[in-house]
């Protein structure tokens, strides 16, 4: 049986300062998970972009609406989820920022960047509405052994 993933759950306020805070939490979790510096940077950038998306497009900067940020460290991959309280959206309908007609747009690159920096990105509706953006990063072959299953170690102690 696979060991239970180690989890970190954070609730952030909908304000600009939360972007830095969420990024910092992501950096610590990624370090704990054993990702190297380059991978940590990519994870942080992806998380930041999803948080910006939640702040601006999901919660529309409404300070009464929280942003959920959670991490699950599995044996062979990290799962990050960002939850907002907005109307939700269909990823397939998000315009391609690389299309010629969108290159000069001043927004619309966040989720694209997040997808570039991670192995997978999915969007679904949350149980209570809003969007849940799920990011997945798999450990590379030179990943620090055992970093992804700390809960199992704790159980043994």
């Amino acid at each position: 049986m696979s060991p239970q993933p180690r989890r970190v759950d954070v609730t952030l306020e909908t304000k600009i300062e939360s972007m830095d805070l969420g990024e910092e939490v992501a950096r610590r979790v990624a370090a704990t998970a054993g990702f190297d510096e380059d991978e940590r940077d990519k994870i942080c950038m992806a998380v930041r972009e999803c948080l910006i998306n939640a702040l601006q497009h999901g919660n529309r900067r409404d300070p009464r609406k929280p942003i959920g940020l959670s991490f699950a460290l599995h044996v062979d991959h990290l799962v990050v989820q960002v939850r907002d309280q907005g109307a939700g959206f269909d990823l397939a309908l998000v315009p391609d920022p690389l299309a010629d007609e969108h290159l000069l747009k001043t927004s619309g690159r966040g989720l694209f960047l997040a997808r570039c920096f991670m192995d997978d990105l999915q969007v679904e509706c949350g149980r209570n509405g809003g969007a849940v953006v799920t990011l997945i990063k798999r450990y590379s072959s030179n990943h620090r052994e055992g970093a992804g299953a700390p809960v199992e170690k704790e159980k043994r102690q």
Binding site: I16, I52, L103, L104, L113
Partner: protein
């Protein structure tokens, strides 16, 4: 750390030095105000020296694009110089390398106006 912005004149070309992180919030607003001030003063040949910028998020990229089009619409030119590897990679991934005129260093960027 947010962004620090200073500007100087190099033979009639305005070089704007940025250092830190160009991100959502104050940093992007600072860049917008700096470019607006330069245009108000009639300075329309602008080089953004990004040599000390290690991080730009999507909002910062948006601000660069906004600055580019604003300067261009007023008959000026905004060019980028001295990109760090990470920023270079970002512009490549987003295809913004095809939008901006990018130079390896400040001198090359300044010379390109002449």
């Amino acid at each position: 750390m947010s962004v620090k912005i200073s500007k100087r004149d190099v033979g009639g070309i305005t070089v704007v030095d940025l250092s830190g992180r160009l991100t959502l919030g104050d940093a992007s607003a600072q860049l917008r105000e700096t470019l607006r001030d330069l245009l108000t003063q009639g300075q329309k040949k602008i080089v953004l020296n990004l040599g000390q910028v290690g991080y730009i998020d999507s909002s910062g990229l948006g601000e660069l694009v906004s600055g580019f089009t604003t300067v261009k619409n007023q008959g000026g030119q905004l060019k980028l110089a001295n990109l760090t590897q990470k920023v270079n990679d970002l512009l490549t991934i987003t295809k913004l390398y095809t939008v901006f005129e990018v130079h390896n260093d400040e001198q090359a960027a300044v010379q390109s106006f002449r």
